[in-house]
């Protein structure tokens, strides 16, 4: 299976930092929350990441990657720093379900299964899935964020998605 990049969100040209923020905020938050698995920590880290990005915005070089990959790279570093600092493995707390699980609602059952399957994934696999599906990043962008080659990122992503599908049954 080949995972291809589809990124409608990034089609929005981020001509200013505010535009970039609006285009990526929800996805960055989702990605950070997937890593730190704590709502208040995710908020702190997300705010910190955007502030760092704002301060460093003049150092952004389009030749080295997209703005989206750049902001996710900053968010990743901030999240890992937070993990190092806090050294805690609290699960995501008080994340309200998006829908009430009704036995006959096939979609709700399927999503609950996916959520459980995601929880069972290794942190690195979960991060790859988050970068791909929450962040809407291409394989090249994921490679940039993780500091690895594009082919390596593609291979790892393929494995992670396979594990997720297996976990979903």
């Amino acid at each position: 299976m080949t995972v291809t990049a589809t990124a409608p969100a990034r089609e929005t040209a981020a001509t200013s930092f505010a535009d970039l923020y609006r285009a990526t905020f929800a996805d960055v938050y989702a990605y950070v929350a997937t890593i730190v698995r704590d709502r208040s920590a995710a908020e702190d880290v997300t705010a910190q990441a955007f502030e760092r990005a704002y301060r460093k915005r003049r150092s952004f070089d389009a030749r080295r990657g997209s703005e989206r990959a750049w902001i996710f790279g900053i968010a990743r570093n901030a999240a890992l720093d937070e993990l190092r600092r806090r050294r805690r493995s609290a699960t995501l707390v008080a994340e309200p379900p998006d829908e009430v699980l009704v036995a006959h609602d096939e979609a709700a059952v399927r999503r609950a299964t996916v959520r459980a399957a995601l929880d069972r994934l290794e942190p690195r696999d979960r991060e790859l899935v988050a970068l791909k599906f929450h962040g809407d990043l291409s394989n090249a962008e994921i490679a940039k964020v993780l500091g690895m080659s594009e082919s390596n990122a593609g291979t790892r992503l393929h494995r992670a998605v396979t594990k997720l599908r297996e976990a979903c049954g």
């Binding site: 929800a26 929350a33 997937t34 890593i35 709502r39 995710a42 999503r111 996916v114 599906f133």
Partner: protein, 362 residues
Amino acid sequence: MNDMEQLREDVRATAPRPRPEFAARLERNVEAGFKPARAPRGERRLNLLTPALALACTAVVAVFVAAVAIDGTSGDDEEGASGGVAMQQSAPPEEESGGSGGAAPPRNDAELRVPENTRAFDTAGPSTRSADPRIRDGRRVVEHRTALELQTPANEFAETTDEVLRVADDTGSIVQRSRVSEREGKGFARFDLRVPASRLDETLADLSRLAHVVSRTASTDDITRAYVSAADRLQDARDERRALLKALERADTEAEADAIRQQIELARVRIALAERDLGALRRRADRAKVSVTVRSTGRVSEGGAWTPGDAIDDAGRILEVAAGVVVVTAAALLPVAILAALAALAGRSVRRRRREAALDAR
């Protein structure tokens, strides 16, 4: 919708969503441009001082460079030509032996002239029975030698050589030997002077003002040992003569008296030799040897005015020295920069590994 698209939709549907109040707060921060946190007072002061300190350091370096560069060209101004002759030390003149009757004295070569107040050393000198005040206080007896080389424009050569003689007269110096030659606009003169040791500094200062000093070499010979030896021999000979005179008074026979008279004559000769040696050493200590060489450059002086050409020369010299300073600084800083870069790379690598380890540790 295929499986992959379905999975993608399901995963996106499970994505954690930010609380609206947090989103609104961050939106406001973004709109406000993340107002900078106020730095602590000490840090603010340092931030304000940093440009001023950098400016001051730059100014100091610039003044230093300019001073060095212009100082290096000051001699050229006098001769009106950019011969590029720098102040340099030449080999000292050939040394004479340390004095008759004594071992070779220790030499004490100085790169530059020895100041007046260091001629008498406070260290204890050799023991002596002599009553000579030079060595009675344990002071050293030294002979000074100086070689001075002057360079002058061709049209000032004769005047400069005349001035050398005038300085010699004014300072009570003796001109032991002089030689002046001038041919096809190029002149050479050599003066061997014996300058009173007490006026050596004054004499050298006067001579140095006559023309551009190409080199000035000073050395001192410590002749204390030879001096003490001669003084002791003189004292011994005098004591011996005194004793012989007393013995002569007590002589009983004419033959005995003749033998003592012969010994008295020998003692008298020894006294004369010792006095001669001592006198020579005294003269060496009292009169410094100054050798003055005057050369003409073959160029004609253009006068003392600072011309645009001089300004261009000075500017070129300043740039030359500044470039030298930059090269030397770069050479000194390069290893530091390499180490700093390596440390930064290592630090980055360690930080990255630690971050990754934080993810694995979950």
